[in-house]
């Protein structure tokens, strides 16, 4: 029942490895529980037989390195630079179609979209470490699950430092067995929504989260189009004129950038799918951030969060609901 897993070579240090701080252990041993459930959620949890045992949290602060020229990694300067780093699964090259012309050194004869696994791994390390630290607190409390998880991912001031903060309420299933391996299940849901998830026949297994990062190095056509160019050489890939290159006018789709957008979403979906282990992701939330670096160059990052759920009872659909009109 694994959730968000930091990369094996993360080198994470701190509470996740060294156990809980002494003050935290004293707090968790208190007789009174703490929780961040609202009163309706609290009532719904008691109704389901879930007893809150403590508010659990995890933090991790990550520094983002410079990957461009002058960095020890020499990343971003030349995508083909020799390196023993994992290069990801996505890379597309674009060749300049203006071979018949003489052009200057400023003419971009090549372009490339590629995955930036070093950014993805660093994000997974930060989120995964915060998640593991939260789960460690729940294990110390003897919890069976952590519900209503919320997270905050933000930059500290204007520095290249990102803080990951996760919190949730650890619960015990009254009269229920401990989860497999003693590792609590986790979910973003709580209260009535969690109750309806159980009623629909799904058990929450774990939170799933991932980030994908794609770098776009524009070639001449992309640069030209992203600067508002409308006329260019276009190679026909279908029809009677297949293989021929023609001069065309008017707005056009910027294929390299469109492809990068699709790739970023596909990569994050693949990453989360790898965490599902054959189960289903429920209530997914996908967000994209674009950073245009000029002349068609950009970085596209996607995040995807959701709850991994597993069917524990046979499909039992409710009757079609009855429409009502409320009188007041």
């Amino acid at each position: 029942m694994t959730g968000v897993t930091p990369p094996p070579a993360s080198g994470a240090v701190g509470p996740a490895d060294a156990g809980l701080p002494e003050a935290a252990e004293r707090r968790l041993q208190s007789d009174a529980f703490s929780s961040h459930l609202t009163i309706p959620d609290f009532g719904a949890c008691l109704n389901m037989g879930l007893r809150p045992v403590g508010l659990v949290q995890g933090f991790c602060t990550m520094q983002w390195a410079w990957y461009g020229a002058g960095s020890p990694y020499l990343r971003g300067l030349n995508p083909w630079a020799p390196s023993n780093q994992y290069r990801g699964i996505y890379s597309e090259s674009y060749q300049c179609p203006h071979a018949i012309y003489t052009y200057s050194n400023e003419h971009r004869t090549w372009g490339q979209n590629y995955e930036q696994p070093w950014v993805e791994e660093a994000w997974t390390q930060g989120y995964g470490a915060a998640f593991e630290r939260m789960v460690t607190e729940a294990v110390d409390l003897g919890a069976h699950g952590v519900i209503g998880i919320s997270h905050r991912i933000h930059h500290l001031s204007d520095t290249p430092v990102t803080e990951f903060h996760l919190l949730g309420t650890a619960v015990v299933v009254e009269g229920g067995p401990a989860p497999s391996g003693g590792r609590p299940w986790t979910t973003f849901l709580s209260g009535q929504r969690l109750g309806k998830l159980f009623e629909a026949g799904f058990a929450p297994v774990s939170v799933a989260a991932a980030l994908s990062s794609v770098r776009v190095w524009a070639y001449c056509v992309t640069e030209f189009l992203m600067e508002g160019g409308t006329a260019s050489w276009v190679t026909q890939y279908s029809g009677r004129q297949m293989g021929q290159t023609q001069w065309t006018y008017g707005p056009r789709e910027v294929e390299q950038v469109s492809s990068a957008h699709m790739a970023a979403r596909d990569l994050v979906r693949r990453a989360v799918r790898n965490q599902l282990g054959g189960d289903t992701l429920h209530g997914a939330s996908i967000d994209m951030v674009k950073r245009e670096l000029g002349s068609g160059d950009s970085v596209i990052e996607c995040t995807l969060f959701g709850t991994r759920v597993r069917r524990f009872k046979d499909f039992d659909p409710m009757a079609p609901p009855t429409p009502t009109v409320r009188l007041s």
Partner: protein, 300 residues
Amino acid sequence: MTDGGPSGAPGLAVPRGQSWRADVLLAAQALARPVPEAQGGATSDLSVDEVLLLHSIGWEPVDLVFGSSVASTPPAAWGWGQGEIVVASESWDIAFRGALHRLVGECARVDGFGVVGVQIDTEIERLHTDVELVGTAVRPIAKAGQKVAQQLGRPFASDLSARDYALLVQTGWRPVGLAFGASFVNVPRRSVSTTISQKGQNVELTNFTEAMYTAREAAMSRLQDSAVSMDAGGIVDVSISEGPMVFARHAIGFTAWGTAIVPGPEGHRHLEPKMVLPLDDLQVTFQATALRQQGGEVES
């Protein structure tokens, strides 16, 4: 599976606590057993309510799908002029059409019969137009594994939520696709004499009004044309945005999209909703600060 009367959410029944407790114990027992990890898994951005509602009409989510497209716009498009800015309208159309094509292609790839709850995000920049579509592919449970071509010919895309989709199906209609249209129009400059004569007066700026009407008519015509091209009987839940461009205040943009629908083989079915009268007491809002005021009133 459920009992009880209608809850605050229209059309959903409140389950019993005992039923929930039994389900939680069953789930805990299932999670206590180690399960061998398989490869992959399905993804969905639907809520629990939406999954339940889809199940109630015999449908299920298949996978999270998306479509993106970016189209170029020439900078000269936003200069001063008259009439429609054709290249800007074309740029929007190319981007929307490209994103939709990819979304529907992804749906077909996972054997979905359609995409519901499509979130539409459009960005109109000076030099390019970006369109991003994200939704969940769905299919009838009884026809899992069948190719969509056997049933509908091609997958549909709809920006209706799964809740609205379930309600639409109950009325005997079904979506056939996303209809869309956009137009960008120059607001012509007023003549010097008109500008001087209108200075300091409360008057209608007819050049703006006329530009807005021109943009609206062109966009709505394209919206309806795209629905007609899908043999749709109508469009529901049309979303409209209009106004001047941030980077070119003299250019008016009008965009519209909605779900094109057709009646099913049995035609329209009347829903005949039940009237309900809640017997709850009026909610009393207690304000602690009111106690410090003289006479401390409690608002209701």
